[in-house]
Every structure is written in C-alpha cells, then in structure tokens.
C-alpha cells in the first residue's frame, strides 16, 4: 500500500508543479473572464433599459439570422443575464477554448518533444501520468473560469441558479476541449502541429454550430459544446442536463486518452515523421532564404488561418450590412461596439477587429528571433557570414511585406464573401481591401516596436504580445468598459483613416515614418549589444 501512497503523492507534487508554472497565466485568464462578464452585463441597462425595448431588440434579431448564427439564439431577452450569456458565452468559450488547447499541449506534447516526460516517468509515476498531470492546469483554469463567470454574472445580473448553470456550461465546454487536446497531443508528434489541429477542432465546432443555427439544422448545433451551451438555456429554461453533459463526454474522452497513454510508447504519435530532403535546394543559400525556410510554416499557417477567418467574417458582414440599413436599433448596437460612430458598418467593425488580429503576425515572427537567441541558434547563424543586420532584416522583410499581403487577404476574404451575399454592392471587394489596408501603418508600427523590443533583449519579447493586448483592450473594449476616451488614442489603430479616404492622411504617413525610424533604431541596438543577451 505504501507504494500507492507514494506514487499518488508524487503525482500530486507533479500536478502542483505544473500549476505553479502557469499560475500567472491561469489567474490572468480567470480575471479576464470576470471583467468581460461583468462589463458586458453592465451595458444592457443603458442600452435597453426597459423590458419592451429588449423584446423589440429580440424581434429585430429575427431579421438578422447571421447574428443568431454567430451568437446562438437569444432565449431570454428580457433578463440582463440572458442577454449577457447570449452575447459573450459562445465567443468566450471559442477564444478561451483555444487557450486551453495551447495549455494542454504545452504540458504534454511539448514535454514529450523536449524529453522532459522521460525524466518525469523515470520516477515512480505510471506512463499515463504524463497526460493525467498534463491536463491539470487546463482543468483548473476551465473550472476557475466557469466559477468566475458564474459569480460575476450572479453578482451583476442576479439569478444565481441560472448563473450557476451558465458557469457549469462554460467550465464543461472548456474541460471537454482540454480532454480532446490531450488526445491530440498523443496523436501529433510536434507541438506546433498539435496546436494547429487543436485550434482547428475548436473552430470547427464553432462553425458547425453557427451553420446549425442559421440553417436551423439544430441536430448539427446539438453535436457541439457550443450547441449544448445554448441548450442549457440559462435564464430561460435552465436545463441542468445540458450543462452537465460536456463533463460526462469529457470523462469518456479522458478515459480513452489515459488508456491510450497507458498502452502506447511514451512520446509516440499517429503521425509518423516523414523523411526530409537529402540536400538543401539550391535557393537555400543566403540569410533571407534560411530565415524564410525556418519561418514559412508559421507564415503559411497565419495566412490560412486569417483567410478562413476572413471568409467566415465576410459571411456575417454580408448578411448583416443590408439589415443594418433598415434597422436603427441594431445599428445602434453595432455602433456602440465600433467606436461610437453611428455611420460605421458591420464590415468596418469586423475589419478593425481582423486588423488587430493581423498584428499578431509580425509579433509572432519577430519574437522568433528572441527564441533563436534563447536556444542558441542565433550564435550559430551569426558565426557564419550572416551578419546581425542581415538576420534582423530578413525577419523584418517577412513582416513588412507579409503584413501588406495578410491585410490584402483579410480584405479580399471579407470583401468577396460579403459581396457575394449582397450583390447589390459591387464595390464590396474594393471596400473590403480598402478597409483592411487603412490599418497597415498601425500594423507596421506594432511590428516596428516589437522589433525594437526584441533587438534590446530577448527577455522582453513578451512585451510585444502585451502591446497587442493593450491595443485590443483600448480599441475594442474601451467603449464597452467606459474607459476615458483618451485611452483610445494610445493605440496606433486610433490614427487609421476612414475608408473611403476623404481627408488627409498625414497621421498614416507619420506612423509609417515612425515605424521606419523604430526599425532603424532596432538595427542599431541589435548591432551593438552582446549576443546572447
């Protein structure tokens, strides 16, 4: 019996260690969940103060099937809780679900690739403990977010039982994604590949639900955790069963996952590593080529992901734009979400958001230089004839050119699809591209700041992501959170011109010049410091 006790205490120690590694990450997401739920709940009283206004609002939704597809059916329009869960439920589970997948992969497949699991399993623990302990941070975060959302909702909107059901739904969906991710981690032999497939699974579940909602194919919607969240129907029918269902399914998936982990070689995968080239192709012979070769997987991934997102967004934008013209209330809601400009179209709202997402591209590429430095590759590259300037320039070239192409793809995706739905607007394509491209100087500016950060020290690379998070908060959430209006001016996106461009564009020119200056500074800093820092 003593062995059992020792082994379980070893497992506890390992689980606690994993939690400790991610305690800040988990805490910040839980806090974000509270803030988002409470803020959105607080907006309804000013937006639709009376029950009649809320019923009218629900009626206008009937005319906007695309919004129903995206957010699910609005089942309890008169209650603040019902409106809030409808507005943020699916979207936050989509977003946090992806974070949960990354968290699971980070503690499972990444450990296997780095042979850390071999170290762990050389102790008393059974093979399955790689998986059983690897999901702990994600499970704790899922339940923490569910509880936080329930508390925030109950406190701001009342209806504690409904809030509890909502919290259970959120937690259950996230727990299920964590369980699925633990299977993916065992199936795919690289962390990046596993992350990609995980994102695909979560997004696919969301898209299937959206299709099910629009086409009224409820069977399709009922197959996914997003559909189950709607079925749980908090503040309307309060169906406990649908809130508990994802936990049951997660239990089954987890059991399979642990059985797989027990029965197979540690670190093995269903995908087998194919053989590569015996010789490098002839073009792979100068710094830019090498950097492109090692970055291209990430770059191609960004383009595919952004293009898929643009098509999806274009669909909603296309079907909503028409409705908004005839529907002042809906227009008001959209306007409130888009910098308070009543003239704003849904397409614009969507493209500002997509342009924010697009800034993740230059950041993700530029921080690779910091990773190269941390892992010793930069020394190897710089010991050749490749100079520091060439190395940084190669990454900046990818980023500067890539941002242009990425925004084009975003604009084209949204434009073409929304144009297809509203063939009354032949300018949809050019409008889409134009609306996306006005954000280019802002994306460049974020890229240039990140380049400077990475040039100063690899240890500061996380500031690049913080920069993007800041832009999202002040740009997208400031109007919702009633932040002072000057905070919005602290985002480069605030200075993007309107489309079609009517006034002068000196702000865009200034921002482009500032980006060039920052990039020049990053070269100077990078050339002068010690490497590795």
């Amino acid at each position: 019996m003593s062995t059992v006790i020792t082994s379980s205490s070893a497992w506890l120690a390992l689980a606690r260690f994993r939690l400790r590694l991610d305690r800040l990450r988990i805490a910040s997401w839980v806090i974000a969940g509270v803030v988002l739920t409470a803020t959105v709940a607080s907006t309804w009283d000013s937006l639709y103060p009376t029950a009649q206004e809320r019923v009218d609002f629900a009626a206008t939704l009937q005319a906007a099937p695309a919004l129903t597809a995206l957010l699910g059916p609005l089942q309890a329009p008169t209650s603040t809780g019902g409106l809030t869960t409808w507005r943020v439920g699916g979207l936050s589970v989509l977003m946090i679900g992806i974070v949960i997948v990354f968290l699971v992969i980070r503690h499972t497949r990444t450990d296997m690739s780095a042979s850390r699991t071999d170290l762990i399993l050389s102790g008393r623990l059974p093979r399955r403990s790689v998986i059983s302990s690897g999901v702990v941070p994600a499970m704790v975060m899922s339940i923490g977010i569910g509880a936080a959302c329930a508390l925030a909702l109950g406190a701001s909107a009342g209806g504690w039982i409904s809030a509890g059901i909502y919290g259970l739904s959120v937690a259950g969906s996230l727990v299920l994604f964590a369980a699925i991710a633990s299977l993916i981690a065992q199936a795919v032999n690289s962390s990046r590949g596993a992350n990609g497939i995980g994102v695909l699974v979560v997004s696919l579940a969301f898209v299937l639900t959206a299709i099910g909602n629009t086409r009224d194919v409820s069977a399709l919607a009922e197959m996914t955790p997003f559909g189950w969240m709607a079925k749980a129907s908090p503040y309307a029918q309060d169906m406990w069963g649908w809130a508990v269902l994802p936990f049951l399914v997660a239990g089954v998936v987890m059991a399979v996952s642990l059985a797989v982990a027990s029965g197979r070689d540690v670190g093995s995968a269903w995908t087998t590593e194919g053989l590569g080239r015996e010789r490098a192709p002839a073009w792979l012979s100068h710094p830019q080529a090498l950097i492109w070769r090692v970055d291209r997987g990430v770059i191609v991934g960004w383009f595919i992901g952004i293009f898929a997102m643009a098509l999806f967004m274009g669909y909603f934008s296309g079907s909503l734009t028409e409705i908004l013209a005839e529907n002042p209330q809906m227009a008001e809601l959209i306007a409130r979400l888009s910098h308070g400009e009543p003239s704003a179209t849904f397409t614009k709202l969507i493209l500002v958001f997509a342009a924010l997402g697009a800034a993740g591209f230059p950041i993700s590429i530029l921080v690779r230089t910091a990773v190269d430095e941390n892992e010793g590759r930069i020394e190897l590259m710089l010991s050749t004839r490749m100079s520091r300037v060439q190395l940084l320039r190669a990454r900046l070239a990818e980023v500067v050119v890539g941002s242009v192409l990425l925004l084009m793809v975003v604009g084209m995706g949204v434009g073409v699809v929304s144009g297809f739905f509203t063939d009354s607007r032949p300018s949809a394509l050019s409008d889409g591209i134009g609306l996306a491209m006005v954000s280019l100087p802002a994306v460049w500016f974020i890229a240039a700041l990140t380049a400077l950060i990475v040039a100063i020290s690899p240890r500061l690379a996380w500031l690049g992501w913080l920069l993007l998070a800041w832009c999202v908060v002040v740009g997208e959430l400031a109007p919702l959170m009633n932040l002072p209006s000057w905070t919005e001016r602290l985002s480069p996106y605030w200075y993007s011109p309107e489309w079609p461009i009517t006034g002068d564009v000196w702000q865009s020119i200034a921002m482009t010049v500032a980006s060039a200056v920052l990039m020049a500074m990053s070269f100077i800093v990078f050339a002068r410091r010690r490497i590795p820092h």
């Binding site: 010789r279 710094p287 020394e379 190897l380 004839r385």
Partner: protein, 294 residues
C-alpha cells in the same frame, strides 16, 4: 609564427559577475590548441568574444589579424564554429541544415560534405526532431568541417558522440592541422585535448593558469617516482610528498631534478623502478590545487 588568435588581458563582466578576469591567450597559425577548464571557467565566453558576439570590457582581441567586434564580417568569412549548446530547427532535415549553414560559410565543399556524412554515418534525410543528441552534434560538426577556412572553433565538440564517432572527429582535426589550418578546441574532457591538441591553455575563473605545449607542461610538472631500494634513501632535493613503505619510496619529483635524483639513488641499490609522466588530468588537478593554495 603569427598568431591567429591573440587575447590580451581581457576582462568581461556580466553584471556583477566577472566572467573573464584578465585572460590572455595566444594561438599560433597552424596550431591545434586546446582550451581546458572546468565548467564555468569562461571557455564559452572566450569563444563568444572571439566570434564578436560579445564585446570586451577591457583588453585587446585579435582574430585572424582583425578585431572580431568591429570587423565581424571579415573574421567570419575565414572561420567555422561549432557551438556547445544549441537547439536546432526541428523541422529541417539533417542534410538541409548542413547545406544551409555550410553555404553561409566560406569554402563549403560538397564532396567533403558527402565524405563527412559517410564518415560520421549520418542519415541526412532524417528530420532534426528525430535525431539523437549525438547525431545533432554531428550536424554542427559536419557543417563546420565541410568548409575550407583558416580557423576552426569547437566548443565541447565530442559532447554526445560515442567513442567511435569521437575518434572520427579526432581524425578530422588531424586532417585539418595537416593542411595547416588552425584549431581552437574548448573542452573539459582532457583525453580529447590530449588526443588532438599540440598546445594547451588551462583557464580557471576567467584567468589563464598555464599555457604551453604538452611536452613543456609535462616538463614543468612533477613526475611520479616509485622505487624499491635495498637501503632506504633520505629526502633528496627536488623530491616532494615523500612516502616510505618498507623498501618502497614514493615521491613526486621536479622534472629538472630527475637526473640528479636518479644518480643519487643508484648508490642505495635500486631493485625496481616505476616512473610515470603525469597525465593531463594530474597536471590539471595540480594546477587547481596550487591555485587554491595561493
């Protein structure tokens, strides 16, 4: 002979930590030079300074006649470097990696590359992710050895290699020195340095402790003498750490005193004699002990 590497009184601080504390190091052209020292002695920092990746706080650095911090491109076009600790790109094949890095150096020779792949028994199509530690080490070695340059810098080059592959590496270094190329090899593995280097510099806590040819260093150090005598001899000048056990006398003997001591011992009737030249290991330990004492 001109120096390919010359460090003079180099000081390098990392914050409050002093990594190099007035280090001087000379490597002559055509030399195969071993840089020996325990972990944390400053070997890798020295190599980074030689590559122009880090600037010195004081002192002078010259590599192939130039300042690597200022004339980095010029210096790098004439050397090849094997880092000690590096995570390679997991999704490149081994062959792709060797070619890409090799082509960015001077004098990358494809026949030599293929010969090396064969000599090191490497499967070049395998993705780096799937290589073992030793096989990854072969990749950085081949990417350097396949280039015809004037200076080769190796940081712990046989780390992870099995003894057979370590021997292949030694042959390759002999091949380079036979061609008149210069080599600086940092290691804490004494046997490795002994096998391939004709000159050795021992560093510790960022300072040069000793430098010279192996024969010089053996000359400077004490020889272990174990002699069985008919009549026990007294302590003679040049003997240290004398132990007596019956008829057996053990002593560490200063190399210059050996002829006199042997001459004197003859009159005590030598029955058996054993003389051991110190291994590098013993010299190494001796230096550290002496250093601790001072």
């Amino acid at each position: 002979m001109p120096s390919v590497i010359a460090l003079e009184n180099v000081v390098k601080n990392f914050g409050s930590t002093r990594a190099l504390d007035g280090l001087s190091l000379q490597v002559a052209e055509g030399q195969s030079h071993g840089l020996l020292g325990p972990n944390g002695a400053g070997k890798t920092t020295s190599l980074r300074i030689l590559l122009g990746l880090a600037a010195v706080d004081s002192g002078t650095v010259s590599v192939l006649g130039a300042d690597p911090w200022k004339d980095t491109a010029q210096v790098h076009s004439r050397l090849a470097y094997v880092p000690g600790d590096v995570v390679l790109w997991p999704n490149l094949s081994g062959g792709e990696f060797i070619d890409a890095i090799g082509r960015m150096r001077s004098g990358f020779n494809i026949e030599r590359r293929n010969d090396l792949v064969e000599a090191f028994e490497l499967q070049p199509k395998t993705k780096i992710r799937a290589y073992s530690k030793g096989n990854r080490q072969k990749l950085t070695l081949i990417a350097a050895l396949a280039c015809d340059v004037d200076l080769y810098l190796f940081d712990e080059p046989t780390d992870g290699l099995d003894p057979i592959m370590a021997e292949v590496f030694r042959q390759q270094v002999h091949h380079l020195t036979a061609l008149g190329r210069s080599v600086l090899l940092s290691s804490h593995v004494l046997a490795e340095v002994e096998a391939v280097c004709d000159q050795v510099s021992i560093i510790r806590t960022g300072r040069l402790v000793e430098s010279g040819s192996l024969s010089q260093m053996r000359h400077l150090s004490r020889t272990q003498l174990i002699v069985t005598l008919q009549d026990m001899a007294p302590d003679l000048p040049g003997m240290h750490d004398v132990q007596r056990d019956g008829h057996v006398l053990k002593a560490a003997v200063d190399a210059p005193s050996i002829p006199d001591i042997m001459g004197s011992l003859v009159s005590y009737g030598i029955e058996a004699i054993e003389v051991r030249t110190p291994t590098l290991e013993e010299m190494f330990l001796q230096h550290y002990r002496d250093d601790d004492g001072s």
